[in-house]
């Protein structure tokens, strides 16, 4: 399996360092464009359509098929808004926060194997510490939230930022502990190895081979990871840093125009990054029958997106004190149990 920069380098007939740099730059642009296209589809259109379906409304339906064309007027509308800089904001922290949130979420996709479409393999880089890299990059976003909360000079923003910290403290450890329990099965932190480990057959049911996806092997870990991931990306029922009915919009209260777009974009890319992580370490990555791997990968991340939107429509928000209790008394204990359980399963399988 060759990575995307190498393939582009070969295609252009380059070798050595220029191949790595030019191939890498084109590859990175392709990956970035794929993610942006997904976020553009999700933010102005899919989110509205899904919420409308849950609440029995019609939503956007005028431009293009099923109203998909709304993306273009919406993008122009949002970008052409006046940027209002409130009094007393702490610059440049106030300007950097949206940049950090949008960039960090995009960067996480560097190590995600997105499967192949025809001859092209969508996988930018495959370092040996792939899984740790994703966790590290994904948690940079909370720095952006705190910066936004503090720099806005707004009491709602400050409370939103403080809540974001409390939430991340409560969920980061269960998320990592459950995530690395997968490594016990796979024996490697490299994303391609984790995907390869899930390609083995677990049991054969007649003509159908059930693959060794870690979600099937250890459903307990899968459920824990889903819950911790929803809190990590700050969606319902854990959207308390924003909590529109309590603290206006939390950390993004004072942001308008392009900065608001960047927050919005960052949030959606972050949901997709969470989905990509779930797909890669629990759902066999881009594996699936008949359809090409890249299509299966998109189906899986959109399934996770649909799940977050379903929860958004169906579940009430928890209180911050409840969240701390769920995180530290529920998920953390669950994560430790899962670690023992997984080690036990692997030990039994090895014997």
């Amino acid at each position: 399996m060759t990575l995307l920069p190498e393939q582009i380098g070969d295609l252009l007939g380059l070798s050595g360092l220029p191949a790595e740099i030019i191939g890498g730059l084109i590859g990175a642009t392709i990956i970035g464009s794929i993610i942006l296209a997904n976020a553009a589809l999700a933010g102005p259109w899919a989110k509205r359509k899904i919420t409308a379906a849950f609440t029995d409304r019609i939503s956007v339906n005028k431009f293009g098929p099923w109203g998909v064309g709304i993306i273009i007027p919406d993008a122009v509308r949002l970008l052409s808004k006046e940027l209002i800089v409130p009094e007393g904001v702490d610059r440049p922290a106030w300007d950097l926060a949206p940049l950090i949130i949008a960039s960090s979420a995009l960067l996480g996709f560097a190590v995600i194997p997105m499967g192949s479409l025809g001859p092209i393999e969508f996988h930018l880089a495959d370092p040996e510490i792939g899984l740790i890299f994703v966790f590290a990059i994904a948690s940079i976003a909370s720095l952006g939230l705190v910066m936004a909360g503090y720099a806005s000079n707004n009491k709602y923003s400050l409370m939103g930022g403080l809540r974001a910290v409390a939430q991340n403290l409560a969920y980061e450890i269960p998320l990592i502990l459950v995530g690395i329990s997968v490594v016990i099965f796979a024996g490697s932190l490299q994303m391609s190895e984790i995907v390869a480990a899930q390609a083995q057959t677990l049991v054969e049911l007649g003509p159908v081979d059930i693959p060794m996806w870690f979600a099937i092997l250890n459903p307990f870990a899968f459920v824990l990871f889903l819950a911790a991931n929803v809190a990590e990306v700050g969606r319902n029922p854990f959207d308390i840093p924003e909590a529109p009915t309590e603290i206006v919009a939390g950390y993004q209260t004072e942001y308008s125009s392009v900065y608001f777009v960047l927050f919005y974009l960052g949030e959606f890319v972050h949901i997709f990054l969470g989905g990509a992580l779930i797909a890669t370490i629990f759902l066999g990555g881009p594996a699936g029958p008949i359809l090409p791997g890249f299509v299966w990968f998109l189906i899986k991340i959109w399934a996770v997106f649909l799940l977050t939107q379903w929860m958004r429509s169906a579940l009430p928000r928890v209180r911050i004190d409840q969240l701390i209790e769920i995180g530290w008394k529920g998920l953390l204990v669950g994560a430790f149990l899962n670690l023992f359980l997984t080690a036990g399963i692997v030990g039994v399988l090895a014997i």
């Binding site: 990575l3 190498e6 790595e20 890498g24 730059l25 970035g32 122009v76 970008l79 052409s80 006046e82 940027l83 800089v85 409130p86 009094e87 940049l99 949008a102 960039s103 995009l106 996709f109 560097a110 190590v111 930018l124 880089a125 495959d126 370092p127 000079n153 707004n154 009491k155 400050l158 409370m159 910290v165 409390a166 403290l169 409560a170 980061e172 450890i173 502990l177 690395i180 490594v183 016990i184 099965f185 024996g187 490697s188 206006v248 209260t253 004072e254 392009v258 777009v261 960047l262 974009l265 911050i320 004190d321 701390i324 209790e325 530290w328 008394k329 430790f336 670690l339 030990g347 090895a350």
Partner: protein, 134 residues
């Protein structure tokens, strides 16, 4: 090495995309400066004071201290998970599992102690309690 070049280049692209959006927006957006609209939003009221002078209760302070302990612990667990399966094959399940189990149990005892002390809870502010009594 080429992996990290590619990751670095994605970082460049990931920063270039928001900056491009900022530049496009800067080119097409209007600017109508006006004193009133720059006021901090406080639900339509005239804002009182700065948010930097507000004194707030960090109600998750104890949780934040615990977080450091468990975060460091996660760093120690990661290498063990990578070699665990191999180690089971070489030295047997008990040899591979017992040391880490002991380590985790010690941490869990610590968590149980913190739990009993009420450290893993959203601390109620004294003022909120006083209002309850009133």
């Amino acid at each position: 090495m080429s992996d990290w070049i590619a990751i670095g280049l994605l970082a460049v692209v990931a920063i270039a995309i928001p900056i491009t959006m900022m530049v496009v927006s800067w080119l097409i957006r209007p600017s109508v400066p006006e004193q009133g609209k720059r006021a901090t939003y406080e639900s339509g009221e005239i804002p009182t004071g700065s948010s930097r002078t507000v004194r707030f209760n960090i109600q998750y302070y104890m949780v934040a201290l615990l977080f450091v302990v468990f975060d460091v612990e996660a760093v120690f667990v990661i290498p063990w998970t990578v070699i665990f399966e191999e180690a089971v094959g070489e030295v047997g399940f008990v040899q591979a599992f017992a040391p880490m189990a002991l380590f985790l149990v010690i941490l869990l005892i610590g968590l149980a102690w913190a739990w009993r002390k009420g450290a893993v809870e959203w601390a109620k502010s004294p003022r909120a309690n006083r209002q309850l009594i009133d």
